[in-house]
């Protein structure tokens, strides 16, 4: 089956959410094309007209929202369509908000403005320029830029080094016709994940009726998780006109850790305010305002990001590594362990009320081949031991140290 459904019915929201992920392996071409497609498609469709006319229609529909984006999920890329709309029971004149919003969505996706076998040239050219600006603007947010650079260095030679915006060099080569052919192939062969949360309704029937093309054709394979051997850590620094140093560390798991153990590890190490990085690097040593870690389970990597006084580079780096060594060596108090578990359990229990994280969790599970409901997740987290956490941490090795600092700074 090319299309997978994940439905979570609940009567407790005033709005409903529908996400369609068109999934493909991450590559420079796929990322750039997805990002550009998201921009070009929003320019309009035959039935509803141009961008501003679509905006009018959505305002009429009680401020329904339709967004398109390109999202990197490990070493796969998703062309994502998101619709959120007020539930029909709140319509003042009895309008069928859901049906009418999905009609806008399907028209935007399936019947865009074209010229022969090509997207409308004027829209294409302008959006190509707009995307180039977006790619260049990555440097504007220095904190994010430092994290992107750390990933790029750590994953040199792997598709993961590309961002979801793609690259300028690839963008230059794309034409209105080549993008159209990418789009046709995507509709014909991409794996599709449909996620819905909201009032109970026949999601599958609606999608079959509105998007029949998705139920034909063979699905392309996706990229699987792959673990590289870690060699000596790569050290890189860069200078920009800034006032605060941004330090990012990349670590790699030598083998796949157990999924829930790795998540709990991250809460203990740097993924929460109960973590060792927050409590020590920030609260105890006052070295920074932010210092946190995140795990990418799809590529087996851990990234730490922090904003520091550049003169404290060595102290901060050593402390971040020391805190990881402590977790590896089982230097975790019973209190730290219990607190971290509570924190993670609270997050999982709250998923039911949080459409965004709930849907992200469904996508993550689908791509990792996990199928755990909220209750199962809770059971698995409850069963974790300190040993599970230290085992997961033990698989980590330092891979990259990236330091972005002021131009005047000399190490």
């Amino acid at each position: 089956m090319r299309v997978t459904f994940h439905e979570m019915f609940t009567g407790s929201f005033k709005s409903n959410y529908l996400i369609m992920n068109f999934l493909m392996p991450l590559s420079e071409e796929n990322a750039t094309n997805c990002a550009l497609l998201a921009q070009v498609l929003k320019r309009g469709c035959e039935k509803y007209g141009e961008m501003h006319q679509i905006a009018c229609r959505l305002e009429e529909l009680y401020g329904a929202s339709i967004a398109m984006s390109s999202d990197k999920i490990g070493e796969n890329i998703s062309f994502t369509l998101l619709a959120s709309y007020l539930d029909d029971r709140f319509a003042l004149e009895g309008e069928k908000i859901a049906e009418m919003t999905i009609d806008v969505l399907s028209n935007i996706l399936l019947r865009p403005f074209t010229e022969g076998e090509s997207f409308r040239a004027s829209y294409f050219t302008q959006e190509q320029q707009n995307l180039a600006d977006v790619i260049r603007s990555q440097i504007n947010d220095k904190r994010l830029y430092a994290m992107l650079r750390c990933r790029e260095i750590s994953f040199a030679g792997r598709p993961y080094r590309f961002t979801s915006d793609g690259t300028l060099s690839c963008l230059k080569e794309i034409t209105a016709a080549s993008l159209y052919s990418f789009y046709k192939k995507m509709l014909a062969n991409a794996k599709v994940l449909v996620t819905y949360t909201g009032r109970e309704t026949d999601v599958q029937g609606t999608i079959r009726t509105c998007f029949p093309i998705l139920f034909e054709g063979e699905a392309n394979a996706l990229a699987a998780t792959k673990y590289d051997a870690v060699t000596a850590p790569k050290n890189e620094e860069e200078a920009l006109d800034i006032v605060q140093g941004k330090l990012c560390l990349g670590f790699r798991f030598s083998n796949p850790p157990e999924y829930y153990a790795a998540r709990l590890f991250n809460v203990i190490y740097g993924g929460s305010p109960v973590s060792k990085l927050f409590m020590n690097v920030r609260e105890k040593l006052s070295l920074c305002y932010y210092c946190s870690s995140e795990i990418d389970p799809f590529v087996g990597a851990l990234f730490v990001s922090s904003g520091i006084e550049s003169g404290n580079f060595a102290t901060a780096k050593d402390e971040i590594i020391k805190q990881l060594d402590d977790v590896k060596n089982g230097v975790i108090t019973e209190e730290e362990f219990t607190n971290a578990k509570l924190y993670l359990l609270d997050y999982v229990k709250g998923l039911k009320d949080a459409p965004g994280p709930l849907m992200a969790d469904a996508t993550r599970q689908y791509l990792l081949n996990i199928d755990d409901g909220i209750d199962e997740q809770i059971q698995k987290i409850k069963a974790l031991t300190v040993g599970d956490v230290t085992r997961a941490a033990g698989l980590l090795q330092l891979d990259t140290v990236y330091f972005l600092h002021e131009k005047e700074f000399k190490a």
Binding site: Q39, M51, E60, Y85, F90, D133, N140, P273, C288
Partner: protein
């Protein structure tokens, strides 16, 4: 203790207003069937509250910039450790923020709500400022300030407020500067605390599937009765006109960013109704469906990053446009032309009705999560309204209200442009 139930059927919701004997006003919005709950306690103390009469004294004081935010950081600390250590035992996700006109402390949790509420009220009502812990915090906040100094959007926004306002403290950075925070002492923090954290200046907002009696009993236990005080303070007012028409700075970025503002003198006594009128006006003229948006987007003067909105709080408000552009001055000129030539012909009935629908939907969706609900409630409460204020106002707002708002607000001499240029050599 007076308890009132306020219903609003169209939103399928209701809340309790409890005048707690301690002097704190408590609002509880039941959300049956939800797994998450949220609580937020807030004081009308933000970066604009700088000059006030000291508690039980005739002496007035003016505090260093950034002190409200500094106090927010320090309040988390107690003799037994940080409030985060206590929250850690309940699993609640807790945080706080300081804005121009308020400081808010909150948590969101799926379990252990009442224990978490105890923690929240305990640390907010028990300040613990020492010379040592105040000094220690200067390092952390110094890094927070520097993080913002590297953020072009924040710098451009702040420069706009400095161009719009001559003396109103909205032009001051909420966190202060690395210099001003050096002057903050534990004594000053206590001086601020005694005035602005008096129970009569605090409101507590709670949402979730909870038990009202248990909420009240936690409040009874954690909130001591206090002598009610009347806060005396001065906030310098500004002329109606913008202070400077144009300001610019240069940063290490890829493309210029612009911030355009229109000062709104009517916001000196801001109401939820006025706020929604301005928002509707701005969306009619500059929203994604407007002629302005279509023309400037097609000309390549703006891109999808463009936004038009209304920045407002207690005693201030300005329309704000933000985006990236190679020709920010052209965007400014075009907006100025619309401002100069505004007439009732610029807004048709259909546009108005469409946007009213969109707002109605947006306001309802904001009631979906406990966390966004308490935030929204706080915002309107600051303006002496409640969580349903905007919805109620929408029912009675007519096209003529929007036109009148436009006539009164849109004046070119109230406009300013702040540009963040690309630093040379990039």
């Amino acid at each position: 203790m007076k308890t009132e139930l306020i219903k609003y059927d169209k939103a399928d919701g209701a809340y309790y207003k409890i005048d707690h004997p301690s002097g704190v006003t408590v609002f509880y919005y039941p959300m049956p069937g939800k797994s998450k709950s949220a609580a937020m306690i807030a004081t009308k103390f933000g970066s604009i509250n700088r000059t006030f009469r000291k508690f039980d004294s005739d002496e007035w004081m003016t505090v260093p910039d950034g002190i409200a935010h500094f106090l927010e950081h320090k309040l988390f600390e107690g003799p037994q450790g940080s409030a985060f250590d206590f929250y850690a035992k309940t699993g609640a996700k807790a945080n706080a923020y300081t804005s121009n006109d308020k400081t808010a402390y909150y948590f969101v949790t799926a379990d252990h709500f009442y224990e978490s509420l105890e923690i929240l009220l305990r640390f907010v009502k028990n300040p613990y400022f020492t010379k040592e812990n105040v000094e220690k915090e200067k390092g952390i906040i110094g890094q927070e300030i520097k993080m913002y100094e590297d953020d072009a959007s924040w710098c451009g926004y702040l420069a706009l407020t400095k161009a719009l306002y001559k003396q109103h403290p909205i032009r001051i950075d909420i966190a202060g500067t690395t210099q001003t925070i050096q002057g903050i002492t534990d004594t000053m923090l206590y001086d601020c605390y005694r005035v602005f954290y008096n129970n009569s200046n605090l409101s507590l907002f709670i949402a979730g599937d909870l038990d009202i009696d248990k909420i009240i009993s936690v409040c009874d236990e954690m909130l001591p009765t206090e002598k009610k005080i009347r806060i005396e303070q001065t906030i310098p007012q500004d002329p109606e006109q913008a202070y400077q028409k144009r300001t610019e700075l240069a940063m290490d970025i890829s493309r210029p960013q612009f911030f355009i503002g229109i000062k709104d003198p009517a916001a000196n006594s801001l109401t939820p109704r006025h706020e929604i009128c301005v928002k509707l006006l701005v969306d009619c003229l500059f929203g994604e469906a407007s002629d302005f948006y279509r023309e400037t987007y097609q000309a390549g003067w703006i891109n999808a990053e463009f936004s038009a909105g209304y920045e407002s709080g207690v005693g201030f408000g300005f329309v704000i446009f933000n985006g990236e552009s190679d020709v920010p001055d052209k965007v400014f000129d075009k907006i100025e032309k619309i401002v100069n030539e505004f007439s009732e012909a610029d807004i048709d009935k259909a546009t108005f009705l469409r946007l009213r629908n969109a707002y109605y939907g947006d306001m309802l969706c904001n009631l979906d999560s406990a966390a966004s609900l308490v935030n929204r409630f706080l915002h309107f409460r600051q303006l002496d309204g409640d969580v349903f204020s905007a919805l109620r106002a929408l029912e009675s707002i007519e096209l003529s209200d929007i036109v009148r708002t436009g006539r009164e607000l849109l004046k070119a001499d109230r406009m300013a442009l702040s540009v963040v240029k690309v630093k040379e050599g990039r």
